[in-house]
Amino acid sequence: MNCTIVRDRLTEHALGALPVRDAGPIDRHLAWCAACRKEAGELQRASATLGFAVAPHEPAHELEDRIAGSVHAAASRRDRRPHAPPRRSRLMLVAALTAMLAVLGTGWGAVMAVRASRSDDAVLQEKIRSQSAVERFRDVLNTMEFGDSDGEVYLGTLVPSTADGGGGSALTLVSPSIIDMAIVLVNGVPAETRLPFTIRLRGADGVLTVGHIAKGGLDESGAGIVMREFDDLSGYGSVIVRDADGGVVMSGEMRTRATVASPSP
């Protein structure tokens, strides 16, 4: 990507009006091109100015304490972690994807077991969709830097609360030296389900929100995905998916653990 193309898109980039897939190449160009970076910086300053134009709202008083507490906790966990030198690890990526494939298979099978009336075509479509989800996982994981030799992957299958409530899979990456990540995939969600879903992880330290899936976040087969980075997912072993009414529609335990060793330096 050359400077002409990049500059043509810098305004959209600064306003957040670029599709995610188009922003990556521009970010990579900006990393080495000082001239474009200068232009981008000026547009970014103009764009950030707009953020102050919204009518002020007063957050709850306790938010300050909650934020201070979360930063303290993150800093404290970091200080306790061993300092592993960052290294890229494709093996970790492969291990994570391989394990995810296995879980996707299980999850898909579980969904199919309760939806046995589906036609062969529907089953095939479900399988294709699962493969497509794996492709999306690969795209996401390819953009990340895995850099430790002690990372662990936890996997779980989401079981629906009712026989026709869909299913899903969950994956968490827990690392002592890089940012942790949770990915939750739901599939086969019936059209009449009350959305949005709220997906949370539960652990000894409390509950963390992974994300929400609204109606537009599901494809035609009722599949959707959320992912989020966390500072520390150690001990978060349960996944709960609630509908718009707060009812649990599916849940699961992160029962499968895989240690993913980095290659030798």
């Binding site: 009006a17 707009l50 201070a68």
Partner: protein, 190 residues
Amino acid sequence: MQARNDGPLLPKEEQQLMEGLLAGNDDAIRALYARYGRPIYSLGYRLLGTRESAEELTQDVFLTAWRKAARFDPTRGRLSTWLMTIAHNLAVDRLRRETGVSRPTLVLVDEVPDAPGLDEEAVLIERDAALRALSSLTAAERRLVVRAYFRGMTAREIAETDGIPLGTVKTRLRSAMIKVRKANEGKELV
């Protein structure tokens, strides 16, 4: 750590605050929150539509800032720009993931009376700059910028919605952002 809540920060003060944040220093965290917590929360509320989402966003912004604190360089841009960019990016990412999320109509500060006594000087200066920037735009430009920045719409989506060429949308957005830039040229933002 001593941190002022009023007036623009010097680059050195911004650097000290970020070093404090990185170290998990309570004074630094609270000084940053006092200065930027409400603008970030307000942006989150307007983009995402609920208090819960805005609180989650604000917390995410501070944690992201903590994680990236070592990358902040005050010689390359102001802290307010850096934090609002993080907030906007996180909010737009979430908006796009949750298409269809219910959110209220955007209300800009010039359409809503301020609650008295809430603003610190620094925030007032920033909002003054924001108003100056928006008032420099035509109604059409403002509508375009609002949909891109506050609705998370891509240029292509705007073009398709309005039935106009993508190139025209890009040209108008660029023209609008040049005006926004010029409106605050030489002005000291916080």
